[in-house]
């Protein structure tokens, strides 16, 4: 067989000698779709005029439209006017990193004054987490990462791709739909000393459940005792309470306690710079010298992956943070966005209660930030998409930013329908029903029961 194929190859005229007869990539299987992005794709494909996208966490105004912040437009205008050259890009990057650090650590933080941090721009939150994961792998090759259960689905992918195994620590209490603080502290205590933990300092994604300040203090003390490394993923500073200082509280608490933390900052949501991929990774150090060493290492990791992040987004964010007038506009706009989301939470909850829903919807207003962990199970999520053209991730996470005064009633009615029309669904609603391949019977707007399986709603 081999001889024949070799003979065949030689027999082909050299003018059109081509590669072997088969593709080298025949064995490549289709990849599973990213669960969050798959939701948007399904939404876009739906022709229903009143469809609602509650998938991706991208802010929408009350018209359901994406928003370009005014502070961003002002910054754009100023940047376009300047003659932008490569030689100034280092200066802009440095300024950006400094301003980002001030934003999260505090304008007057000692960390900044003493230059005790290594910071580099990153490709939004994803990029910052990835750089840190690579750095962690390089200098702690045997280490693991502890992720809260649940967490943003891409966190696992990131640490997996750098070959750092993950463990979870308990976080969300599905029954109370709030923080499982006792279990959380237990898991922190039981992890081996010196473990790496990923923490959401505010507006936990996907649950919207945050520890109180007092709980953060206890977590911080326990971290100290256990010598754990705290890595914060800051994707929503300003979005949780509407106040950037307040939303940084958890980090400030850890700083007060003397932790040398790591921090991934994203400006995707709070500046509306999603597509520009603007973020910052910082690692706190003992001193300036060490900070330089670590920064060099981080830059090297970045250089071998994509070079540096695009200068346009960095310039915008830097302008917004460093120009006092533009920054003032920004802070107001952040408050407006957060306020609208708070309002939608209140309205949605009221609407469900007004409909006489027997279920407890307190968590809608207790939870914080862009997302609400509704407690809807897979069957209900599937039904909402199929029958009501309302799209969310299979775990029942709702992006509140996608809720408007115009669609909130339809949303409430739909949720009410799927959670009360069917007995099985109601029972499942009160239990943890996230298993794949669950066969579920459910009604379809009062019509005959149809049988559906947990579809390809992969996690």
């Amino acid at each position: 067989m081999m001889i024949i194929s070799r003979f065949l190859r030689r027999g082909i005229s050299t003018a059109s000698t081509c590669a072997t007869r088969r593709s080298w990539w025949d064995h490549v299987t289709p990849a599973p779709k990213d669960p969050i992005i798959a939701v948007t794709e399904a939404f876009l494909a739906d022709p229903f005029p009143y469809k609602i996208n509650l998938g991706v966490g991208a802010y929408r105004d009350d018209e359901g439209k994406p928003v370009v912040l005014q502070c961003v437009r002002e910054a754009e205008g100023k940047i376009a006017a300047s003659n932008f050259l490569e030689s100034t890009s280092t200066a802009v990057s440095s300024k950006f990193v400094e301003e980002s650090a001030k934003l999260i650590y505090g304008q007057d933080s000692n960390v900044i004054k003493e230059r005790r941090f290594a910071g580099i721009p990153a490709l939004s939150g994803t990029g910052a987490c990835r750089l840190f994961a690579e750095f962690q792998k390089r200098f702690y090759p045997e280490s693991r990462i502890y992720l809260p259960d649940p967490t943003w689905s891409n966190h696992r992918n990131i640490w997996r791709d750098v070959h750092v195994p993950d463990r979870t620590f308990r976080y969300y209490h599905p029954d109370s739909k709030s923080l499982n603080f006792v279990a959380l502290m237990d898991d922190i205590k039981n992890a081996p000393d010196g473990s790496f933990f990923l923490l959401h300092p505010c507006a936990h994604n996907p649950t919207g459940v945050d520890p109180t300040n007092e709980q953060w203090r206890e977590i911080s003390s326990l971290f100290k005792a256990k010598n754990h490394f705290p890595f914060f993923d800051v994707a929503y500073q300003g979005f949780a309470s509407g106040d950037v200082e307040r939303d940084a509280r958890a980090i400030r608490i850890f700083l007060e306690d003397g932790h040398s933390i790591g921090c991934a900052q994203s400006f995707a949501k709070n500046m509306g710079l999603y597509g520009h991929r603007v973020g910052c990774l910082s690692v706190l150090c003992n001193d300036k010298i060490q900070a330089m060493a670590i920064k060099g290492q981080l830059q090297q990791i970045s250089n071998t992956m994509y070079g540096s992040p695009p200068i346009h987004g960095i310039s915008l964010a830097s302008k917004i943070l460093s120009d006092p007038d533009i920054k003032a506009i920004w802070l107001k706009e952040v408050k407006v966005m957060a306020t609208r989301i708070h309002r939608m939470r209140a309205i949605l909850r009221e609407a469900l209660e007004r409909l006489g829903s027997p279920l407890n919807w307190q968590h809608i207003t207790n939870q914080v930030g862009m997302f609400c962990f509704s407690g809807l199970n897979r069957a209900e999520v599937y039904l909402l998409a199929k029958e009501f053209h309302i799209y969310m991730t299979p775990d029942g996470r709702i992006s509140m930013a996608g809720v408007t005064t115009k669609n909130v009633d339809y949303l409430a009615n739909s949720i009410h329908e799927v959670t009360t029309c069917d007995q099985d669904a109601k029972i499942l609603h009160n239990t943890d029903a996230y298993r794949i391949n669950t066969d579920i019977r459910f009604t379809s707007l009062g019509a005959s029961k149809s049988r559906a399986r947990g579809m390809n709603l992969s996690l």
Partner: protein
């Protein structure tokens, strides 16, 4: 029980009480995981205390040293970034125009791009490198994903190969861009070299190249510079490319093209794509990393694309789905600004035409610098054959100067270049050529 306190010490007390509740014992286990921070505690050492300074990137380090030099005659011939006759960076007019158009379009939003980036950009990039009428495009056999410039495209391609390709070795030319081996190694491939540059002729070591590729295991990946080899500026002729193609196809070696200078080398976009198109025309598969850093002057905006040419549309589609899995945990989705500019220019025939003119002007200026430098050395009677300066192509000239000579030129003449003797012709102007010629002359005659 304690009553309400407001002083800081009571807050600490509360925390201690809480801690006691949670810890079974007060003792702290030995910190095996953090052997490097023995004094951890309240004011503990950073867990990254053991991190040493990384060696400086040799290419970027040149600019750092240059910036520190106060001499008024200093010359930066390090980084391959285009400079005008006045020694200034250049933002192309057509790029400014495109940027302004985007800025003025108030309907534009900044939402996340799809994981693979802007669809238009991807299609147009494929057309640019493969040719607008390439059957691969018509047959949907190529998947193109937007990446961050050449570096990002190489990394994503290499990560994909490390996961899905049966051969994890990539052969890179000797020498090659300093970042190549690092990118491939970190992506999980093992790196070997093939002979490329002949220092005695300052040209291509074609015999060595063919020998080394012949002895590579079947299926190995081979990195090819599409044109304007970096750092040597030495490119195979078309006939030599054809021989390379035949050899590679007969050994089922997988080509990975790095196209960083399309249009920049000869001044013609089509001519500079010939090597790639030759390989694609034979129906075989390959990877192509494209960068718009130089040819569109978009360095800092990190605009590039990775194309994978496959045997069938079905395979291309599956490959694309797997590329997404590489991208999502790396940066989720690519940046919108630079690629929007490129797409705007590529899809508008007038702007495209303008671009080709500005591109040719840059390429022509570089060719002119080559000629001027060659003439200046000849005038000075500098020993040695300097014809390689005009024979080599693209942004760089591999002068043949050794590291001692380079060091001398930096010290005495404030000329900054990489220690391998590579100079960026783009950093020269008619005004500075004499200074460089003087420096080379001195280095060659006074140092060996």
């Amino acid at each position: 029980m304690r009553h309400e306190f407001t002083s800081p010490s009571s807050a600490a007390d509360r925390r201690l009480n809480a801690l006691i509740r949670h810890l079974a014992t007060a003792s702290i286990e030995s910190r095996t995981a953090i052997a490097f921070s023995p004094t951890s505690g309240y004011h503990g050492d950073s867990v990254f205390s053991h991190v040493v300074s990384a060696p400086e990137d040799p290419i970027l380090g040149v600019t750092v040293a240059y910036n520190k030099d106060p001499s008024p005659v200093k010359l930066n011939l390090g980084v391959g970034a285009y400079r005008t006759e006045e020694g200034k960076p250049l933002v192309l007019n057509v790029v400014r125009k495109a940027e302004q158009m985007l800025l003025n379009d108030r309907s534009r939003v900044k939402e996340y791009l799809p994981i693979v980036g802007i669809a238009d950009f991807n299609k147009l990039s494929a057309k640019l490198i493969l040719g607008a009428d390439s059957p691969t495009i018509q047959e949907n056999r190529v998947t193109t994903v937007q990446c961050l410039s050449g570096t990002g495209s190489l990394r994503v391609g290499a990560e994909f190969m490390a996961r899905h390709y049966h051969q994890k070795t990539i052969y890179i030319p000797q020498p090659t861009w300093g970042n190549h081996p690092k990118i491939f190694t970190l992506a999980g491939l093992s790196v070997k070299t093939y002979r490329y540059y002949d220092p005695t002729t300052r040209g291509l070591n074609f015999k060595g190249l063919l020998e080394d590729l012949s002895s590579a295991p079947s299926g190995s990946i081979v990195l090819l510079h599409a044109c304007a080899h970096n750092p040597t500026g030495v490119d195979p002729t078309l006939q030599q490319w054809e021989q390379i193609r035949q050899l590679m196809r007969s050994k089922a070696l997988l080509p990975f093209f790095d196209s960083a200078y399309q249009g920049f080398a000869s001044g013609s976009l089509d001519q500079d794509a010939q090597s790639v198109r030759m390989f694609v025309a034979d129906g075989g598969e390959c990877f192509v990393a494209q960068s718009y850093a130089k040819n569109m002057g978009l360095y800092g905006e990190r605009v590039g694309a990775l194309s994978v040419v496959c045997k069938t549309a079905a395979v291309a589609s599956r490959v694309e789905s797997q590329l997404k899995l590489v991208i999502r945990p790396m940066f989720s989705n690519p940046p919108i600004h630079g690629a929007s500019i490129v797409a705007t220019i590529l899809k508008d025939s007038n702007m495209f035409h303008e671009w080709t003119i500005e591109l040719k002007a840059m390429a022509d200026r570089i060719v002119s610098m080559r000629k001027q430098l060659f003439d200046a050395l000849r005038t000075r009677g500098t020993p040695d054959d300097w014809s390689h300066i005009t024979k080599q192509i693209g942004m760089f000239t591999f002068t043949g100067l050794n590291s001692k000579q380079v060091e001398f030129m930096t010290r005495e003449y404030h000329i900054y270049m990489t220690s391998d003797g590579r100079i960026s012709m783009a950093g020269l102007s008619s005004k500075t050529v004499p200074h460089l010629a003087d420096a080379i002359h001195a280095a060659v005659t006074r140092m060996s």
